[in-house]
């Protein structure tokens, strides 16, 4: 059974169709990428899957359970966690504090427990700290561990974003344009990182512009245009798909990475 199933998802804003009848399945342990020109509805699709917006119709099924209309934080609890396109982090905290706060889902103590600093709450804190340190290590953030996030060098922001998402123990991690604005070396580093995360058993969904990286990293690719599915297949299938080339017609070749 697929880990994540999207069935006939549709989202309209007024008269505008942002996502039109999209269906696909993501297998456990896959790296699944969604590409498409600007405004193709990629980000909206992400928001729909993580319940940050409600679909007009259609369903999202995760581990056999319909999560379509659940609140976003419940969807996160089920194990579907996203990162953000912009450099969205907790700016007024240090890196390690960012990651510790993000461990929220793992806490067993209640709000009152936090307040009275119950043994359970103390144990939680201890665990979060250890787990945060290991996430920081995996993502190579040790050198900036105690830096205020606001002052972080640009290159670290995306890692921090991923570290925050990792703290929520996702089963499926949705990365929103993790390579954008990066030079080739940086991209290589993040590609390795994403693979590393996948190797820890986390299924990855990507939204991306950078074709070169996408072709390298993805197991399967979904191409959207004007909200509709254009093609779905392995990187090599996509590279030769007529409809895809049509959709990207007039665009720079290198953008397609062919």
């Amino acid at each position: 059974m697929a880990l994540l199933t999207v069935e006939n998802l549709e989202k309209r804003f007024g008269g505008l169709i942002a996502v039109n009848d999209v269906s696909f399945e993501v297998e456990s342990g896959e790296i699944f990428t969604i590409i498409g020109p600007n405004g193709a509805g990629k980000s909206t699709l992400f928001k729909l899957i993580t319940s940050f917006t409600r679909p007009t119709s259609g369903r999202v099924i995760f581990e056999g359970e319909n999560i379509t209309r659940l609140p976003a934080h419940v969807v996160a609890r089920k194990g579907v966690v996203r990162t953000f396109q912009e450099t969205t982090i907790f700016k007024e905290m240090t890196v390690v504090e960012n990651v510790i706060v993000a461990h929220h889902l793992r806490s067993r103590a209640s709000s009152l427990g936090f307040f009275f600093n119950s043994p359970l709450a103390r144990r939680d804190e201890q665990e979060f700290r250890e787990s945060a340190d290991s996430i920081i290590e995996i993502l190579g953030l040790e050198t900036v561990r105690n830096e205020q996030a606001r002052n972080l060098p640009h290159g670290y922001l995306r890692e921090l974003g991923i570290a925050i998402a990792m703290a929520a123990e996702p089963k499926a991690l949705l990365l929103d344009e993790p390579f954008s604005g990066m030079n080739p070396e940086e991209t290589d580093r993040v590609v390795d990182m994403v693979r590393g995360i996948r190797d820890r058993g986390i299924t990855i969904l990507l939204v991306e512009h950078d074709m070169r990286a996408v072709m390298r990293i993805s197991d399967r690719i979904l191409v959207l245009n004007f909200g509709s599915m254009v093609a779905l297949g392995t990187p090599s299938e996509i590279q030769t798909d007529k409809a895809v080339i049509e959709a990207y017609l007039g665009r720079e070749d290198d953008e397609l990475g062919i």
Partner: protein
């Protein structure tokens, strides 16, 4: 600054800091609970000023908490009014003891806060500020047109002083009518403020405080890691309203009357100013702000018609030259700030 250096400093400094915090706190408590009331025992005016400033601080502590979830709350006056009327109505119409009224007023205000909060906390920034400002006005007008139940414009007067509170025949708190009311109210206010500060301090330095802080910085991101944003922001807001309700109940019994204009938009605005001028980054900010501004106004009485002018000039100067509040001036930088997560 390198992270290593920072880490070391914190590691070495921690035990010293803990000791110095205890000493400073102890001195504060002794001065506040013993020195001040005995030194000014004969000077009722000064006792009253400190008492009033204490409870204004208490109410502002709640507002401070809504700042930590990133909301500018100009609605605290409404909840002080709700708490005040709750006490007034319960004690005059139903003969309920003040010691029951006090927590009940807080709860009523808190519950009302939850109901309003579920709707209005979806808004942010200026929008939230304006909607809470409207709330202050709406609640005031509501009590004004409440007919016999709220007493209309003249409100409710002849509210009894707090009666005796005993347990198994032992007097825990004496009847306020039989002791020096100034001292009695002073201690009631002091206990409220100390408890109130302790609770807020605890919240802001526990995991709850970090969750609130995460909401302030990015609600979407908090949501993405599974934090139930709606629940926690309503929680913070309800605690804030609870503080407002308790404070309102206090003022109602201490002045033994209440009417709709007891708390208005200006009061709500001043609660924010107290927090802001004291320093939003500090738990003690609202206390410093409230004491400073309330006592400052009293000191400026000498200047008669220029009182308000000088007052506002001083206020503007603080905002311009100390944009992070008065406490950003003080010496031990790490002292008042909500504690960092330890390494």
């Amino acid at each position: 600054m390198s992270s290593v250096a920072k880490g070391t400093r914190r590691g070495v400094g921690a035990p010293n800091r803990a000791v110095s915090i205890r000493i400073v706190l102890g001195v504060f408590l002794i001065v506040y609970l013993i020195v001040l009331p005995s030194y000014f025992a004969e000077s009722r005016y000064i006792l009253r000023v400190i008492t009033t400033a204490s409870v204004l601080s208490f109410i502002s502590l709640g507002v401070w908490l809504t700042f930590t979830i990133g909301r500018i709350n100009i609605g605290q006056g409404a909840f002080a009014l709700i708490g005040g009327y709750a006490t007034a109505i319960l004690s005059t119409k139903f003969g309920v003891s003040f010691w029951v009224c006090l927590p009940l007023s807080g709860l009523i205000a808190g519950l009302t806060g939850i109901i309003f909060g579920l709707g209005i906390l979806r808004l942010k920034g200026v929008y939230f500020a304006m909607i809470t400002l409207s709330l202050t006005e709406a609640v005031r007008l509501g009590f004004l047109s409440g007919g016999d139940f709220t007493g209309g414009a003249p409100g409710i007067s002849n509210i009894p002083l707090p009666d005796e509170l005993g347990l198994f025949g032992i007097t825990l708190i004496p009847d306020f009518g039989k002791v020096d009311t100034h001292i009695a109210f002073y201690y009631l206010a002091a206990v409220l403020l100390i408890l109130g500060l302790a609770v807020i301090w605890r919240i802001s330095s526990s995991r709850l405080g970090w969750i609130f802080k995460s909401l302030q910085q990015d609600e979407e991101l908090s949501r993405s890691v599974g934090i139930n944003v709606a629940r926690y922001r309503v929680m913070a807001y309800a605690i804030c309203c609870f503080y407002g309700g308790i404070g309102g109940a206090f003022f109602t019994v201490s002045q033994q009357s209440i009417y709709p204009s007891v708390f208005g938009v200006l009061d709500s605005l001043f609660f924010i100013l107290y927090c802001f001028l004291g320093g939003l980054a500090f738990v003690a900010g609202p206390i410093v702000g409230a004491f400073l501004l309330f006592i400052l106004f009293e000191l400026l009485h000498e200047f008669q018609q220029y009182q308000q002018l000088i007052y506002s000039l001083l206020m503007i100067s603080i905002m311009l030259w100390l944009p992070n509040g008065l406490l950003s001036l003080r010496l031990p930088a790490a002292f008042w700030r909500s504690r960092n997560i330890r390494d």
